[in-house]
């Protein structure tokens, strides 16, 4: 049974990430409020995944800071990581372990107490209808099932911050509904959620504010109404139109 989360604020200040001469993130600053669901949109190669990987401590920033409340991800990575649940774009799992073994292993390395771990795994498998797959090798599961297992692994330690990179990519409609419900349940718990997606409907439905990133820079940050204004779009314009207008401007004016 998942309990309500303590609220955590995420602050990103002047974050730059270079890969050699390539500037993947260019002086990015964002504040994501406690319990907020924050959407991250951008074309392919815009820097979304780099931002999320830096945020969860997989990549080291070239400069700038990332803090969860007062905890700096670079200075205190272990403390920060124990607060974060991360789902990569293409999660690769240990295919030679059973579903149960994989989740037990992940729970253990995320320091979940033994008493809670069993209960948490059972509850999660039940809510994702995977109970009959607990002794199946992860390698034998379908793509949708693997995605569900990865989501369970992401939240086993009841993280205070969720970082989800394209959680709905290439899933069938039934699994998409399960995943959307799961995101909804996490946000109800008050978990601060950062959601990168190409699915504009999902961003519009779940995210309070949305950042649009292009060429490593934040082009715009606001709620959907604010973004419409920035893009000089109609008041009933869909997020897709807003997104295209804003990223088009950026492409024409890359210096901004």
């Amino acid at each position: 049974m998942q309990k309500a989360a303590s609220l955590v604020q995420v602050s990103i200040e002047h974050l730059t990430k270079n890969y050699g001469t390539l500037v993947a993130l260019n002086n990015v600053s964002l504040k994501i409020g406690s319990g907020e669901v924050f959407g991250l949109l951008g074309p392919n190669g815009a820097g979304k995944s780099t931002l999320l990987k830096t945020l969860v401590g997989i990549l080291r920033p070239t400069s700038g800071t990332i803090k969860l409340d007062e905890i700096d991800i670079v200075a205190s990575p272990e403390k920060a990581k124990s607060m974060i649940g991360y789902l990569p774009e293409n999660p690769s799992l240990y295919t030679g372990l059973t579903t149960l073994e994989f989740l037990q292993f992940v729970g253990k390395i995320r320091r979940v107490a033994d008493d809670l771990l069993d209960q948490e795994i059972s509850d999660s498998l039940k809510s994702f209808s995977l109970e009959d797959k607990r002794n199946s090798l992860v390698g034998s599961l379908s793509k949708g099932m693997k995605q569900k297992v990865a989501l369970i692994a992401t939240s086993l330690h009841n993280p205070l911050v969720l970082v989800l990179d394209e959680p709905l990519t290439a899933l069938d409609p039934r699994t998409r509904v399960s995943v959307k419900d799961w995101i909804g349940s996490q946000t109800k718990r008050g978990v601060t959620t950062i959601l990168s997606t190409h699915d504009l409907d999902v961003a519009q439905a779940h995210a309070g504010r949305i950042a649009i990133i292009d060429h490593g820079k934040i082009v715009a940050v606001d709620n959907i109404e604010g973004l419409r204004k920035m893009a000089n779009a109609k008041s009933d314009a869909q997020l897709e139109d807003v997104f295209l207008r804003l990223t088009e401007e950026q492409a024409q004016d890359p210096i901004r």
């Binding site: 997989i58 990569p88 690769s92 030679g96 372990l97 059973t98 073994e101 253990k108 995320r110 033994d114």
Partner: protein, 531 residues
């Protein structure tokens, strides 16, 4: 069949498969094969000379070795891997209007060409070694090599035919016939084993001579050893050609229809498991985090091909070292102890490379565990099975050596240091392998794996790894080399103390080196950014 289409397919498969980096990597592999063949053939010749093996027995031994190749290919044929295909073949070639027979022909042609191209150098070296021993000349070695390569192509065709025969278009009666034929081939191929049973007449083993492996061994070994009988060779060659033609015609007939559904698609990095459901046996309750990490690693080793590969390699190593020991090479030169060090020790780096897969690092790197400690626990879990296999081999080789050197205390010290030294080197090279895998290891199911970047990374890793490992293990080797001088200078009275002191120093050095390498490996994982 359209020769143009076959040509186009072969040309683009070659373009896709043989990048400059692949060729460099294959060249390194070829060089190692040649070295291995030279070692193996010299050991065999020394052994056969010592125990007085006749050419006939060598032919039978050759026939048996080739029979093992056939057994392997029959197995892969039944697994659907007789015609290797990739997922891009399925996506682009199988969905194109190219007739299946053209695809079959192109696949067979490509596989035969690559087998001939890469099999020829080591095989030629093998027969050149034999022909120089028997003074039969280089031309004979080339002829013998050609015949052996012809046998390899026959094996490929047999495997392909078996895979094609798995299709639904083949009736039950024909499948029964096929199975009967395969069983017959297997039984006859392995008949030379009966030579080990004293009561069985030698003519039983001769029956294998009608099969491709028996024919190829008879012709090749006979030619390089200078056995007379030109007419017999011609008859044998004609029969071998008949096998080749038979399997080729059969394959062309079987590939008339749609056979794609029986082919097993090779997906790099994706393990196949016999049973999708297993008993979960991690049981983390009450166990420490690190004990769970080690248990997870042991489960993965046990369920994947790794454990099987380790076991087969250890068996192969045991056989090779025992033959080497019996050949008397160890006794003839004290520095040949180094051979034990190299052969046993090199196992460490070979088994290390599989420990990491880049795409799963997100699980570890987004968790609060210490990477240094994690790598050390993985090492502990992985070194245990390695030592489990290597220690008995070392003891099996070591005990006769120690007994044979009892009368020469100065040589005995070298043996005493070399045997634990072999296991120490295995440990160091495994830690070194883990360090380089941490730094350069790539994803195994990424498309990039088969691209130039991955191959170049592998070559770079392999070269760095070999050089660095050699530097790190050199003190252990030097200790063995100077042991005779040390033993002579201290005298036989102080030899036990000297031996104990040197073994202790060697173990302390090994522990220090392994710790250093694993710390570096942990740091390399922590710093990796190409995820």
């Amino acid at each position: 069949m359209s020769l143009g289409t076959v040509g186009v397919l072969v040309r683009y498969w070659i373009k896709g498969r043989f990048t400059r980096a692949t060729i460099a990597s294959l060249a390194v592999g070829e060089a190692f094969s040649v070295i291995f063949v030279l070692f193996g053939s010299s050991t065999y010749l020394s052994f056969s000379n010592k125990v007085g093996l006749t050419t006939g027995l060598s032919e039978v031994a050759g026939s048996l070795i080739l029979a093992l190749y056939i057994v392997g290919l029959i197995q892969s044929g039944f697994n659907g891997s007789g015609l290797p295909v990739s997922s891009s073949d399925v996506d682009y070639v199988f969905t194109s209007p190219v007739p299946p027979r053209d695809v079959f022909s192109a696949k067979v042609l490509l596989n035969s060409l690559t087998t001939i191209l890469f099999g020829f150098p080591p095989i030629l070296v093998l027969y050149l070694r034999f022909s120089s021993y028997y003074h039969t000349g280089a031309l004979v070695a080339v002829l013998a090599g050609t015949v052996t390569l012809m046998f390899f192509v026959i094996g490929l065709l047999l495997s392909a035919d078996i895979t094609l025969s798995l299709g639904r278009g083949i009736g039950e009666r024909k499948k029964l016939l096929r199975n009967f034929f395969i069983i017959l081939v297997l039984v006859i191929s392995l008949l030379p084993i009966t030579l080990l049973i004293p009561e069985v007449p030698g003519t039983v083993a001769e029956a294998a001579r009608i099969l491709p492996n028996g024919l190829a061994a008879t012709i090749s070994v006979g030619l390089v050893s200078g056995s007379p009988g030109t007419i017999n060779y011609l008859l044998d060659l004609a029969l071998l050609s008949a096998w080749l033609a038979g399997f080729l015609i059969l394959g062309i007939r079987l590939s008339r229809g749609h056979f794609y559904e029986v082919l097993e698609v090779a997906v790099p990095g994706v393990e196949k498991f016999d049973k999708p459901d297993q008993t979960s046996r991690l049981n983390p309750r009450g166990r420490s985090l690190w004990s769970v990490v080690r248990a997870k690693e042991r489960i993965l080793i046990g369920r994947t091909r790794e454990a099987r590969a380790l076991f087969i390699n250890a068996m192969f190593l045991s056989g090779f070292l025992i033959i080497y020991a019996l050949s008397g090479s160890f006794q003839s030169s004290p520095t040949s102890f180094l051979f034990i060090l190299f052969i046993i020790g090199s196992f460490g780096s070979g088994t290390a490379s599989r420990w990491i897969e880049k795409e799963r690092l997100w699980i570890l790197k987004s968790s609060p565990v210490s990477m240094r400690r994690y790598v050390k626990e993985v090492f502990r879990a992985r070194i245990a099975p390695l030592l489990f296999y290597l220690a008995p081999v070392t003891i099996a080789v070591g005990v006769p050596l120690v007994l044979s050197q009892l009368g020469q205390p100065s040589l005995l010290l070298g043996v005493v240091l070399a045997l634990p030294g072999a296991l120490e080197i295995a440990g160091i090279t495994m830690a070194g392998g883990m360090y380089f895998a941490s730094k350069y290891g790539q994803s195994s199911n990424d498309d990039i794996l088969s691209s130039q970047a991955q191959e170049l990374a592998d070559i770079r890793r392999f070269l760095f790894q070999t050089v660095i490992n050699l530097i790190i293990v050199s003190p252990v080797i030097v200790l063995v080399l100077v042991s005779q001088n040390l033993a002579t200078s201290v005298g036989s009275d102080s030899l036990p103390e000297l031996a104990a002191g040197l073994v202790l120093a060697s173990i302390v050095f090994t522990a220090f080196s392994i710790n250093l390498l694993l710390n570096r490996a942990g740091d390399a994982v922590r710093r990796r950014e190409d995820l």
